[in-house]
């Protein structure tokens, strides 16, 4: 991964480093070691762990988690690129100070776990905005900046990158806004994840990718429709992956492409099909 900024200039021959599956689909389907075995046997070298129950239980099983993950990684040869907590509960843009505090503590705990299992990054989302009544956007933005700054500062000594992800929450969900937040904080260990399905809900994801190019470390791919936000298998929605392949090449992106697809059926076949579909659309990895 290119850790320097800005990223490679337009027109270079840089290409994504690897296709990396998320463990998302395996939640509530199989345990994490079994998921590791399946992903490794499908030909993947790394995984991004969806840091959610029942796989990652910091409440009841924090003491043994890192050891279990390291052993599964050593046995299968599957390395861990990063940890990604889900947006179900954690909320750094909450109007409630105790929720923001709890969320920051959770991110830091998951970040420390990420460092223990030799992952390179932690993904952080802006949080959730109430549908009916919300805090003013400028106030919520300040809460996110304060929390993200604290998370980045707390994890600085671990060598972990903290990557802020665009999420369709009606708060800091465009490429421009995400870049602005990361630039504003200015921490050296902060970067960006751009999720093309999330971006598709609020902007042209090609524009989003170009906007964040200078701090882009990871791209999340999955498919969705405009009407219904999904993280579906590649090719089952409305996302134009051929156009995105050209954009990714054009901006000189050389980081990870994470397959963050949710497969209701056979997961390994689904992830393999995602990879094949992306390659057919012109994605290198």
């Amino acid at each position: 991964m290119n850790g320097s900024h800005p990223k490679a200039s337009a027109g270079t021959t840089a290409s994504p480093r690897a296709f990396t599956p998320s463990s998302y689909s395996y939640l509530w389907r199989s345990d994490l070691p079994s998921a590791f075995e399946e992903m490794a046997s499908t030909g993947f070298e790394e995984t991004e762990i969806m840091a959610a129950l029942p796989h990652i239980d910091l409440w009841d099983r924090s003491a043994e988690l890192a050891g279990e993950i390291r052993r599964a990684s050593q046995r299968t040869g599957l390395r861990i690129s990063g940890l990604n907590p889900p947006g179900l509960d954690i909320n750094i843009s909450s109007a409630d100070a105790s929720m923001r505090e709890w969320s920051v503590e959770m991110y830091i705990a998951i970040g420390r776990l990420a460092a223990e299992v030799d992952a390179r990054y932690l993904v952080v989302h802006p949080g959730r905005v109430p549908v009916l009544i919300r805090a003013p956007g400028d106030i919520a933005r300040e809460w996110v900046i304060a929390a993200l700054s604290q998370i980045a500062r707390s994890l600085e000594s671990t060598g972990l990158k903290v990557l802020f992800e665009n999420t369709p929450t009606d708060l800091l969900d465009s490429g421009d806004e995400c870049l602005d937040v990361v630039r504003h904080i200015g921490a050296g260990n902060l970067g960006l994840v751009y999720d093309v399905a999330n971006g598709f809900m609020v902007e042209d994801p090609n524009d989003g990718l170009r906007a964040v190019a200078e701090r882009l470390e990871v791209v999340h791919v999955s498919d969705t429709t405009r009407i219904r936000w999904r993280h579906d298998p590649v090719g089952t929605g409305e996302v134009d992956f051929r156009a995105l392949a050209a954009t990714v090449t054009d901006i000189g992106f050389d980081g990870d492409v994470v397959l963050e697809t949710v497969h209701p059926g056979e997961i390994s076949e689904g992830l393999d099909r995602d990879r094949t579909m992306l390659q057919a659309a012109g994605w290198n990895g």
Partner: protein, 277 residues
């Protein structure tokens, strides 16, 4: 006949101070208030005594009472994460103590939410909600505040049948039901929902919505058939408060008064302040 038209302070959050909200609600002809215990009106994570004292004084001056307290949207009793469920319990217990400080009868409790892409198994989520609600009821027992479980369109325990099932699992002597007609409209016929929960019903929330776009809009701006619902409420003999829980983009005071008049026009009857028709 319902006991009273009350109004929620929800629409005033991030718009007006709580004392102003209480004044306007009283001026709009309501006898009672459902207080949304959310920032910036109420900080549940700190000492709630000053907020409670200020709200009590505002209510005394305006001549209204707080009959129920609701919380913001972060709490999630249905979370698979034990740490989140513990945070949610603390949050509800603080809200319950705040309700007691105000002399309120009810604490509104929501089931929470499930992950949209990878939800936990239904039975696990149901068990977590029942456990949480039971613990809240235990904590509230000596406070004189009764938890009322609200139907919420959250893909977990959002129908009237499911709410009845949850409350009966804990004990109808310890927990009641708050039926929200706009929430109900997203998943069922709210008239059917009201009849289903009738024996356990202690609070009714009213606002308008469309099936396509969940809202808590002013009465008459959505697809709610409030004349039919008025007949249902009469038919089941409901005698508790009716809380107008509408969100108004412009000035809430006149909007809440218009909601009350629209409900009365549709056949809803309840005791109101005599001097403010």
């Amino acid at each position: 006949m319902p006991a009273a038209f009350n109004a929620s302070t929800y629409t005033y959050v991030w718009k007006e101070r709580l004392a102003t909200a209480i004044d306007e609600i009283a001026d709009a002809g309501f006898r009672g208030v459902e207080l949304m215990a959310a920032p910036p009106h109420v900080e549940l994570s700190g000492d709630t005594q000053p907020d409670a004292a200020a709200a009590r004084e505002a209510c005394r001056r305006a001549g209204v009472t707080v009959s129920s307290v609701a919380v913001g949207f972060d709490a999630n009793l249905a979370s698979p994460d034990g740490a989140m469920r513990a945070w949610s319990l603390r949050h509800y217990e603080r809200a319950g103590r705040f309700a007691a400080q105000l002399g309120a009868d009810f604490l509104v409790v929501h089931p929470g939410r499930r992950h949209p892409f990878k939800p936990a198994p239904y039975e696990s989520a149901r068990a977590w909600v029942i456990d949480g609600l039971r613990r809240i009821a235990d904590a509230m027992h000596d406070e004189g505040v009764r938890p009322v479980f609200e139907n919420s369109p959250s893909t977990i325990l959002d129908t009237a049948e499911e709410c009845v099932d949850v409350v009966r699992a804990i004990g109808a002597d310890r927990v009641g039901i708050c039926y929200d007609v706009a929430n109900g409209m997203m998943v069922e016929d709210p008239g059917h929902g009201l009849r289903t929960v009738a024996d356990l019903l202690q609070l009714v929330h009213v606002s308008d919505t469309t099936a396509a776009d969940w809202r808590h809009g002013p009465i008459g701006t959505g697809e709610g058939d409030f004349a039919a619902l008025a007949a249902t409420v009469d038919d089941i003999g409901y005698a508790g408060p009716v809380v107008v829980e509408t969100i108004h983009r412009s000035r809430p005071g006149p909007g809440l008064k218009a909601d009350r008049l629209a409900l009365q026009h549709a056949g809803w009857t309840a005791h109101t302040t005599a001097s403010k028709p």
